[in-house]
Structure formats: C-alpha cells, structure tokens
C-alpha cells in the first residue's frame, strides 16, 4: 500500500514538473505585444509574440494573436503559418478559421486540389474539427467512468455489479473508437503540409545549390511539405511531381499540435 502511494506521488510530481506555467519573460513579452498591437505598431507586436513563442510556450490564443499581428504587418506567409498552427490546436474556433481564410486568400498560389470521395470528405471534415487534446479529454472521461464501473463491479452489491459490467463494455467500445480516431488523427497530422512559404517569392530549384534549374515558383502563404536539410537548403514538395529545394529562410516549419496542449 505504501509503495503504491509512493508511486502515485512520484507520477504526480512528474506531471507537475512537466506541466508548469509559462516561463519568465513570456507574460511580459505578450503584454508588450498586446500594447504594441493596440497602438498600431504591428512589427513590434509580431516581435513580442514571436519572443513568447520562441520561449517554447504555445497556445492557440498566442498563435492567433501572432497571426493577426503578422497579417497587419504585411507578413502574409507568417500570418498563414501562425493561424494554421492556431487552427490545428483549436480546429473549431470560428475566429481562427475566419482569419486564416482571409490570410490564405491573400496568397498568390492556387494549388490543384483533389476532390476526395464522399466518404473520405466526411471523415476528413470530422477529423478536422477534432483537436488532439479532445481525444485526451475523452480518454480522461473514460478513465473516470471505467474506474467507477470497475470499483462497482468489485465491491458493489450483485444487482449493481451487472450494470457495472455493461458500463465496462461501453467504456471498452468507446475506448476502441477513440483509439481508432487517434490513429486517423495522427495520420492526418503527419500527412498534412508541414511548412509555409514566408518569402514573398521563392524559386524552387532542382538541387540544394544556386544555379540549379528553377522547377517552379511559389509565393508567401503557400502550404507545402518539408523534407530533408542540406546545409542552408530545405527539400520541399507540393506533390509527387512538384518537388525541389528552397533556401531555409524561405519557409517556416509548422510544429503541429502537441497532444497535451
């Protein structure tokens, strides 16, 4: 019993250590950015929000504000990148969707989109509206309900035990669905574009050095996939056919959602 309690305390301590509040400097940087934005000094606001994000602290709100400031400062690529990060953290947030739509419309590249089948379209739509942390919430609810049902199954009178048995089956079924959903969401996240063009115009070359053939030209705000590094160059692709290399300063990585944010 004592060992079990010790284990629980150790785990709790680890969780606390891993999920502390924002580090020093973040609050001050965000406060300064808010003031700068309100005063119309958008470049300064971008710098403040970027400082907060660079410290490792991130939230949908912070990305949203950084996206707004970048848009106002005329940095369309950065605006799309920040708002896309915010959307992936809070996919049902209407403000984020609205601003991302407007920022994306400022982009110049019109990319061909494959029309998915009816079923895949619906599935993608459902998954789009679910944030990874929603799965965590469902799992926590399952833990509570499952624990209660298991305790009742062990200790309650026989008439209650039967109901608890059914509850455990339901919990197991929902857990299986959730596990499937987590798998699909993980696939969706890993197969989504992982970067955004932030340079006003970016010439995609056939190799990672100047003088290679220009394959195609992209403009700021275009979502793309990022691959290998080669010195100051980054491999990028839009599709199997359209791929090449860009200078690293032309693109920015999308970090994507972390499951516990």
């Amino acid at each position: 019993m004592k060992r079990a309690l010790f284990g629980i305390l150790l785990f709790g301590g680890a969780v606390l250590a891993g999920a502390s509040g924002p580090p020093h400097g973040v609050v001050e940087a965000v406060r300064a950015a808010e003031a700068a934005y309100a005063a119309g000094r958008y470049d300064e606001a971008v710098a403040g929000y970027r400082q907060a994000l660079d410290s490792g602290w991130a939230s949908a709100d912070l990305y949203y504000n950084a996206g707004c400031a970048s848009f106002k400062a005329g940095q369309i690529g950065w605006a799309v990148a920040y708002l896309e990060e915010a959307r992936r953290l809070a996919p049902r947030d209407p403000d984020i969707r609205h601003n991302l739509r407007i920022a994306s419309a400022r982009g110049r590249d019109l990319l061909p989109e494959e029309e998915p089948s009816w079923f895949l379209g619906v599935l993608a739509g459902v998954l789009d509206g679910i944030a990874p942390r929603d799965f965590i919430r469902v799992l926590l609810i399952l833990i509570w309900v499952g624990a209660a049902a298991l305790i009742a199954r062990w200790l309650a009178p026989p008439i209650v035990r039967r109901g608890a048995g059914w509850a455990l089956w339901v919990v197991a079924a929902v857990a299986a669905l959730t596990a499937g959903g987590i798998g699909l969401k993980a696939y969706q996240i890993t197969s989504a574009p992982s970067g955004v063009v932030v340079a006003a115009e970016a010439r995609v070359l056939s190799g990672p050095q100047d003088g290679e053939t220009v394959q195609f030209v992209l403009h700021e705000g275009t979502l793309l996939h990022l691959g290998r590094w080669a010195g100051d160059w980054r491999e990028v692709w839009l599709s199997e056919e359209m791929r090449g290399w860009l200078p690293v300063e032309s693109v920015v990585d999308l970090h994507g959602p972390r499951w516990f944010r």
């Binding site: 785990f11 407007i102 079923f119």
Partner: protein, 593 residues
C-alpha cells in the same frame, strides 16, 4: 462479386459531381446534304448540348414528300476544366419521296418548361435520274479503263501556308449503268507531313459528267501542313468487285461464285507546295495560329465581389486548326489576382471546313471595389486568304466590383452591405491568462485525474481482503478478533461489577479462542498458558491475561473485591492492544490481515 459491383456503382454515383450549370443549352439540327434525288436518303443530325436529364426527345415534323425514320442516339459525356458537360446526338433518316422544294421546320425540344428551337432547313428533291450535285471544278471523266468506274483524289489548293486548312476529297465515280457488287481494300491517300482530321461520314450523290450520270461516293479530310516545303499526298487505293468482263476468259476458280472480278483503282499522287509564314509583319504576341478568327470576351456573371473569384471566358472563334490555337496575350490587369483555368475546344466540320471555337478561361479575384476598366485582349493570327497577319481585339470591358459579401435574402428594407473584409481583432489580455496560469501552475489540474487510480488501488485491496476473509475462516477470526474484543470491552458497564467481570472474561475468552482457532468452550484455563507460550507471546503479557481472567472469576463467584472494576477494565484495554501486538508478531500473526 455482384454485390461488390453494386457498391462500386453506388460509390461512383455518390462521387459523381453535378453537371456544370450556367451555360445555356444549345440545340442544332444539321443535314448531310440539302439536295437529293427521289428515293435517296438525307441524314438529319440533332445535337443537344447542355440540356438537363429531364429534357424531352426532339420533336420533328417531316415535310410533305419525306418519310422520317429514327436511326438512334448517342450520348457524349466529357470533363472540361473540372466541369461535367454532356451532349446527346439524335440521328434520323429522311427518305425523299417526291421531287420539289421543301423546308424542314425547326426541331423543338422542351426542357424545364422552356421550348428550344433549331433553325429551319431548306431541302430540294430532284427527279430520280437527275444529278444531285453540279460537277466540282476539275471534275472530268477519267475513266481510262472504259469500265464506268474510276477514283480521284482532289484537294482545294496545291499551294498553302504552313498550318493552313486544305480540304482533301477521295471520290469513287460509278456510272449509273455499271454494276458494283462490293468495295474493299480502301487505303486513304498518304498524308505524311500533314495533320489530318476526318470530315465526317461518307457522302453519296450523283453528278452528270459528259452526259453520263454517275453515282459518287465521297470521303473527305482536312489537312494542316505541319512544315514548309514540297509535300506529297500519296496515292489512294480502292478495290471494286464488278462483273467479269468476258465469260471466255473466266477460269473455274478465278471469279468466284458470282462471276466477279476485282478491279483495283489507284489515284495519282498530288504535290503541295507549303510556304512558311512570312517573317515580315509578324506581330508581337503571335503564337503561330493560322486561319480566320474573331475574339470575344465574356464575364461569367454581371457582378463581381471583392475577394471572390469569377471567370472571364475569352473565345477565339473561326476557321482553322483550333487545336493549335494559342492563348491570347493577357494584359496586366490591376485590381485583380489572375489565375489560368485552362481551355476547351469545340469543333464543327461542315461543308469541307473545320470551324469552331476555343475558349480560354481566366479566374479573376478582385482585390478592390469599384468600377474597374479592363484593357482589351488582343489575339494575332496569320490569315492565309489575305496573306497577312491580323490582330483582333475584344471590346473594352468594365466591371463593377462590389464589396465582399451581402446579406442573403435581405430585401425590402435595404440590404446590409459589407464594405470591406479584414481579419478579426486579437484576443485581448491573454497575458493575464498566462499570468494566472503561471501563478497557479497549469499542471495542478492534472493531479485530479490520479484520483481514479488511487480509488482503483484501494478498491483492489479491499476486494482482495474481502476474498481472503471469505475463503479462510481462521484468517477471518484472527483478523476480526481485536476489533470485536475492543468494541465489546468498550461496551462493558463498570457499575455492575459481577456482570462486568463476566463480560470481561467473555471478551478475553472469545478473543483468545479466535486467535488460537478453538471453540470458546474448548478453551481450558489449564492449557491456556501453554498455548500462549507456544504462540511466543511475551510471558508478562501471558501473566497479566491470566491475572485478568482470575480476577474476573473471583468477582463472578463472589470472592474478589469489587471496588477496582473500572481500573481493571481500563487496564484490560491496554493489555488487549499489547496482546494483539504480540500475537500479530508471533507465528500466528502470519495468517492475519
């Protein structure tokens, strides 16, 4: 397997997009020839483009002097720029019965409550035996073999510019009195160095040449020279099966069952001199188009909204090699973002010519509101008839770009119109939220979710304990002995010494019998000391227990003093704890919870 096919068909139907909307339906009625002899047949083709699936079949009233027969229908579905378009072609045969001049009334089709009409067509039927066509230029008897059968290849020009349209006709002439059983082995003339397109099905008609009436079978092509220089149209060949000329010359196996012989007919090769397009006067933006064209630009809708895409269709219409017609020179339009959305070609082949239109679509997204004038679009081509370069232009275009969105359905009291579109404001004071998070420690909340784990651990322990007590009676007696004894001890009333002494003795006897796993009645005072010693209980504790029991017996049987009952009871409680502690550490204690 069948089930799987059904599922695939259902999925296909679900994923099939709706037909493109917006384009007006087009109804066309055409005949393969307007002049025929009595008893001959005219092919009537009715083409329906862009009609809905509910559109009815064409209604045709055959003019007097004709009989009409349905010859089938075909449907063509195609994708153009991601839009689905379909056309249905109905074919009819008009059998001419009487000579005269007729008018085929407009063909009508009803769709979605509206009636569509084609143009009327004039028809002429000449008496049987009369020529239905006047001889073409250059037509002359070439019946060198004197058999009443000969073949010719004719082109409408022997000098042309590169990519200029040339019509080539292969004709088989059959004098009316000549029998022809069968035609085989047709080899079209060789057209290396040309792009060749068929001009539709075979035409049959009659001509009068040098007083003789000939039945003519004609197949036509359009040729576009792909390079300059002297090109040759090779000989064409056809084999006619005709009656054998002489019975005496016929061998047993030579002419088959019907006394036929094969008469091969070969046409002469033709040289075509192809001139390159002149360098002089070539306009800027010329992309190599040759022919006669006009240009027209049309917006998809009359209204445009800021930030919302709309299409501009630019149609190059005319005669020439439409497949190779390049896009016009697009001006730099300010106030728009422009995206190329592809092109679509529609070709008609009539009267030996290829005509049609090629539509280039640009998607424009207005970036500002207000009236915007668009510069005309220019298209340059080489006109081989005038032997000069020409440039045609669209009319000036103007479009009123409205603000981004209007409120749908708002009428009567004046619509609310959005005057601009911008991003929403930042989330205010998120720094305060961050500050609170830092103060409280965001992770604290997660600890709550450890509660189910703790509860589960406790429940598991309880469940195991309960099972152990149920399965092992000795364990159950020993484990419960102390609590029962303690409770019983606490309930003893010291004011009645005799009863209290009896209860105290019962407490000890019950407690010890539980621990030693014997019946209360089987617990002998004489052997008690030995059994407790065997359990490794401390000798002092054993002595004190025995002393308690002895005292109780004295009181019960009237030999002891009753004034110290309360003190004895108090001492019994401490002694009980001491004995419990000792027994739990003894070998007996291994079987307790």
């Amino acid at each position: 397997m069948r089930r799987r096919r059904w599922i695939l068909a259902l999925l296909g139907a679900l994923t099939l997009p709706a037909p493109a909307r917006g384009a007006d339906p087009v109804l066309r009625a055409e005949v393969d020839r307007a002049r025929v002899a009595e008893g001959e047949v005219i092919a009537l083709t009715v083409t329906m483009e862009g009609f809905s699936r509910r559109a009815g079949d064409p209604r045709i009233e055959a003019p007097e002097g004709f009989e009409i027969y349905d010859a089938g229908r075909s449907t063509n579905i195609s994708w153009i720029n991601g839009n689905l378009s379909s056309s249905t072609v109905h074919t009819y045969q008009l059998l001419s019965r009487r000579a005269g001049t007729y008018t085929l009334p407009p063909v009508t089709v009803e769709d979605r409550g509206r009636e569509y009409r084609s143009d009327p067509i004039a028809l002429e039927v000449v008496p049987a035996g009369a020529a239905t066509r006047t001889p073409a230029e250059g037509d002359a008897p070439a019946d060198t073999g004197g058999r009443g059968l000969f073949a010719r290849v004719e082109i409408d020009k022997t000098e042309a510019y590169a990519d200029e349209q040339i019509t080539m006709r292969f004709r088989l002439y059959q004098r009316k009195d000549v029998r022809l059983y069968e035609i085989s082995g047709f080899e079209p003339p060789g057209t290396e160095g040309f792009w060749r397109e068929d001009l539709g099905p075979q035409q049959d008609y009659t001509v009068r040449l040098d007083g003789d009436l000939y039945q003519v079978r004609e197949i036509s092509w359009v040729l576009f020279p792909t390079r300059a220089g002297d090109l040759e149209i090779g000989p064409g060949r056809i084999v006619c099966h005709v009656p054998a000329r002489s019975r005496r010359r016929r061998g047993f196996f030579s002419s088959g069952l019907f006394n036929q012989e094969q008469l091969p007919l070969t046409t002469e090769p033709i040289r075509v001199h192809v001139r390159p397009l002149p360098e002089e006067g070539q306009p800027e933006g010329f992309t190599g188009s040759v022919g006669q064209y006009t240009i027209e630009a049309r917006f998809e809708s009359d209204e445009a909204h800021q930030g919302e895409p709309f299409a501009l269709n630019v149609t190059i219409r005319g005669s020439g090699h439409l497949q190779t017609v390049g896009a016009p020179a697009w001006p730099e339009w300010e106030g728009f973002r422009v995206y190329d959305s592809g092109d679509a070609v529609s070709v008609q082949k009539r009267e030996g010519r290829v005509t049609g239109e090629k539509t280039f679509t640009q998607v424009l997204i207005p970036t500002r509101t207000g009236v915007i004038d668009l510069e005309p679009i220019h298209f340059s081509f080489f006109d081989p008839d005038r032997e000069t370069y020409r440039t045609v232009s669209t009319a000036p275009m103007r479009i009123d770009v409205l603000a981004a969105a209007t409120v749908p359905g708002a009428t009567g009291r004046g619509e609310v119109v959005a005057l601009g579109e911008d991003i929403l404001y930042i989330r205010q004071e998120i720094s305060s939220g961050l500050l609170a998070a830092r103060a409280s420690g965001v992770g604290v909340g997660w600890l709550v979710h450890l509660v189910p784990l703790a509860l589960l651990t406790g429940a598991y322990w309880l469940r195991r304990r309960r099972a152990a007590l149920e399965n092992d009676p000795v364990l159950a007696r020993r484990s419960r002995a102390f609590r029962r004894a303690e409770a019983r001890l606490a309930s003893i009333d010291p004011s009645a010494p005799a009863a209290a002494a009896a209860a105290l003795a019962e407490v000890w006897e019950t407690y010890l019998s539980d621990w030693l796993d014997v019946e209360v009645r089987g617990l002998k005072r004489s052997s008690l000391k030995g059994e407790l010693e065997a359990a490794h209980l401390a000798p002092e504790s054993i002595e004190r227990v025995l002393s308690q029991l002895a005292w109780a017996d004295d009181i019960r049987f009237g030999a002891g003093a009753t004034e110290s009952v309360a003190g004895r009871l108090s001492g019994a409680s401490g002694l009980l704890h001491e004995v419990e502690h000792g027994l739990r550490r003894s070998p007996l204690g291994a079987r307790t919870i």
